[in-house]
Symmetry: D2
Subunit: 370 residues, 4 copies
């Protein structure tokens, strides 16, 4: 234990909130509270000389922003990203790319009712216990607003890998599940419907279900499926940094995610080896893709396919039993503007985390190749 | 790009296999190929002065070893761990704990048939492509033998946290699923049956199914469920290092794992917020535990509950279509001794990875608390 | 090596410039080019609930800024730092502290002459070779302007450790060396003279020498000495992360530094053990401090004392022989406003790096202590 | 702060001793106490397919071992390294290379007198304070025995870079300094004399001085100079991971080192810019090398030249004033076999740390180059 010369005492602190960094060769660090003046980040490790289309970055951000359709929260936040370094005349310079997004529409008064109440399935109580305070105005760092920075970084990372295409879409909303095989979907039509489900009939049912949840002051969960096409053979490492492990960490770090599958996922547990194994064909491809594009922790060149489960939004208008800061029972019916279903807006976040992981492993892997 | 004075040329290499390290405050690095002389590891960051019961470590290892029951591979490897540093008179000294396990039963001849063939759903082709070679005798670093080192480290990590109890069990084998709620299971009886399913009736059915798969030269997948009891409030960080994200990475890094869920998992996607939210009671606990013990990325004091899906073992005796190194079609019927179902032996591995993640976050979290 | 399905080619890049991060528990990442719109950084890992005096941060920055005295460059950059996150009502919240400093006075025209010339003892040629470009307007990331961000972070870090006092001063300028023992210096009077030498007579001679160098269109090197008082016993780790090793890395990462000493430094090489050993007294202190406050890699409670050597500024008005981008011999006499001697302005940078290392090790060390 | 459900209390620990790892792309972790059964390490990140000559590794180790000449300690430890993984048929496989060295000659009785006494200029008191215990038998992790593992790793790292030659030699012992310019030395003759000074006349004087110190039961410090030839242009990063910063950290982490210089070092502080600048010649080389091979944090292709100062060995036979564990004054005259001067044996350690840093940066730098 520390001991001092003289009279000095050891100072005791509440915890910090580290863990704001992800990636190894391509490293994203984010900052900013939901109700501060801005959020932002630094993306370090971008190779020099890459052409960057900033419109693609803003476009990704627009797909995540609140108020983009009648299905999302009514908050109309126009998220405009500004870049402060690392870019010159349309190209990366190799230096860290810093960026920020102002927080514009901060209606703090909406949150007054939450000052002394611990919301069910929120981290209010754990924050007070661990950090000695919490930001009742909107979650501080635990707010999903932080994910806007991930979208910016993912859209930059994607431009390292023009040969790889990452597409995510909504494959379930509550009990409404998309039953069509991936190969039969029009992945260019994902944004055609505000639900981001590329199957119009299912999308219509999802929309109706979301509207019903909203009208009942309730919320619903959902599932996002994503594929990455054009991934080279050999991304990932054989032991702890298996590609599926790093994808799982990245995607499970998105707010409200409760489950992750790659390839056959939980269905694999019910299968026989003779049915699950992907036969190798004479071009070193596979006849099926139960593996979801990863074997032994390394990409095998087949499409990477993952599924991510989101729980329903915890903040709802319906009355719920809870307690206040003193542990006294109370009833909470949340005011304010909240999405009844986050999955349509979470699609670009899922894409961004996959893009970051693939670009990171791509750059890690280039290390010794010439 | 690098440039030299004089005549020197840049040397070109095949890739290394980094990523042999996990953890931040409690750091495990493993080494060793399945068919080398030994495997082992270094566990760095163990605080000084902790009582260590080495019998508990060997016990955990015995639960993972091949040949422990009629359900597993016939290889009878007696895995004996030796410690080389970091322990003195039954206590940790704070220095790195190094350990090794000899590889005894290396019947390389069993693997001769695999020298020139790429096995379906194995990483043979990706290894050859990325590293310029592969260890056809048993996978080298991609072999599940590496997980013996994780079990050693997990059993050490668990002794930092005597107040936390981590229990894993087999909850599904192929189509045979355990339907009994966790609260009604006898978690002290997990090892009573070789399947490690703590419900005798279901365990019997699982056993019969595994035997059937073996007799048909086939294999089956399965699911392991795990709980951690006694976890303090506040483990985890709010952004990328959410507790569920680090658990997901650790568990998805186990060979053959294809899916991960925490709490309600994929079922959450079908639920309404009003049904999913865990009401907070007057003792700051929760009436239900759909969260699985984690809110906002931090433990909330409720039991942490996760589920992990394992695909069926890829190496089977049945004939499969594949190709050789030259891409020529061939048929493979694997010889050698392989488990028809790995989940009973994977139970201590799942426990170990959870123990490592919890101990790591516990030590990270102690940082500023006094 | 990477191999692709289909037609995709591997893209080849120039290097990135990673390594913009320092620290383990208290982590600083900086960004920004000398001639971009702003520079800034993120300081992650500040415990929650610490009182922060922002005036002390600006004060430290003012001590580093150009144009603060007649001895420094004539550029009068008013460096005003703005904070974007991590602070609320005068206290840290535990979240990352992001900050930025606008670049105001960018007279790029001064640099036009350097576009095609490789300056002696600058990294122009190595940058062009490694990154495929360089920022001739002022060095980009290699510019000492980046150190302003270190000063901000150091002044924040210092407020974790109010019991520790870090003081640096100029102890040599060219051949003019301060011969007075540290114990006899008035360390509160460092800023009384623009040279930041706390001995008025020596300071006067240094000032005259710097003016002479300027008048001769030349520059001079110098030495900064620093002490840290009130450091608790036990900071540092015994092997690679010895306290002196991390101090050396931090201080040698400052532009223009060519040497580092702790305690007796190079003089120790000439001494006998019987003369060098610091006898331990009955209060567990030491009678002398040749160790400079660190034994076995750990602080022993005595003052930490280090010395840092700065080379003369490379950009001078005098004519020098060099080559242009095509390797053709040319003569360069640099225009623009450059310090003839950087050590007076480097004093707060040295203090900042020491504060960052001590705070980082302090937080690392608190891990298991209660 | 952590809070628990139920009755559990937070456990309080003494510190761990982390920091046993160095490097980023080429990562060395070491373990083992001086009086345990063995020491060893894991070197992770070696690319696959590199030819390794194990005799060169043992040769490097033999140059470090005690008892190799009449100038060193009389302990005759035969350090034989064994490799456990990562090598196959004379080549690296890309997997982690684990190795160990048995501790043979552990005469613990020599250390009995030190059990209750705090040795001057040792970390006994700081260890007891921080870790709650110390290994009085020989320092545990703080013992220089740990450096044998560095020598093994350095000798492996060197074989990644056959085009680079790293040579270190003794350039001062106490007041006896080598005055001959590096260019005039026979660097192939370093091992011709037991002092490892490549200038026979100076070597003889050093030898006599060391013998005199031994006969007076005293010790002496010294200086090691090292050069690296054939280093490509562009190793290092511009900000915190400057090549000289990482070299300084690596070399200052060697036991007993008190000072580090690169190129002109402290002499630079006395020089004018016009004299110090290295003029660039038409082949993009430099006419002089005051930079010591590094500009702007990056190697420029010129020889890298560094100097490292070692303090005299603290354990001496002469009587010294100190205190026991209770703070009571006592007199200590150390028994046992200790080197009067460590610098001859430290030569391979200095070389190893430089080889590790250069190989690490080489592999980091290859990342994006093709």
């Amino acid at each position: 234990m520390l001991q001092y010369y003289g009279e000095c005492a050891i100072v005791s602190y509440f915890s910090a909130m580290p863990g704001n960094t992800i990636g190894q060769s391509l490293v994203l660090t984010t900052y900013g509270e939901s109700h501060g003046t801005q959020i932002g980040g630094i993306l370090d490790g971008m190779p020099a000389g890459i052409d960057i289309n900033l419109d693609l970055v803003q476009l990704a951000l627009d797909r995540r922003r609140p108020g983009q359709s009648h299905l999302t929260t009514e908050r109309n936040e126009e998220d405009k990203v500004t870049f402060h370094s690392g870019l010159f005349e349309g190209k990366t310079t190799g230096t860290p790319i810093a960026f920020s997004i102002p927080n514009k529409d901060q209606r703090s008064k909406d949150y007054g009712q939450l000052k002394d109440v611990y919301r069910p399935s929120h981290a209010d109580y754990t924050y007070d216990t661990k950090y000695g305070h919490r930001d009742y105005r909107g979650g501080g760092r635990s707010s999903a607003r932080e994910t806007a920075c991930r979208v910016v970084a993912g859209a930059l990372a994607a431009q390292i890998l023009p040969q790889i295409s990452v597409k995510a879409w909504v494959s379930a909303v509550g009990p409404i599940a998309l039953k069509v095989p991936t190969a039969d979907l029009d992945l260019d039509g994902i944004d055609a419907h505000p639900t981001r489900c590329p199957h119009p009939e299912t999308a219509g049912k999802m929309e109706a279900y979301i509207e019903q949840c909203r009208s009942e002051k309730d919320s619903t969960g959902g599932v996002i499926t994503a594929v990455a096409l054009g991934v080279p053979v050999g991304l990932g490492e054989p032991v702890f940094d298996k590609l599926q492990a790093d994808l799982a960490k990245a995607l499970m770090s998105i707010n409200a995610v409760k489950g992750f599958e790659i390839g056959s996922g939980f269905a694999a547990a019910e299968m026989r080896g003779s049915a699950h194994n992907d036969a190798i064909t004479e071009d070193f491809r596979t006849a099926t893709n139960h593996a979801g594009g990863v074997v032994g922790g390394l990409s095998n060149g087949a499409p990477i396919e993952v599924r991510v489960a989101f729980k329903p939004v915890a903040t709802i208008g319906k009355e719920q039993n809870t307690v206040d800061k003193d542990g006294k029972a109370t009833v909470l019916a949340a005011k304010g503007r909240h999405d009844p279903c986050v999955v349509p807006r979470a699609v670009p976040i899922v894409e961004a985390m996959i893009q970051l992981v693939l670009a990171d492993h791509y750059l890690r892997n280039l290390k010794y190749t010439r």
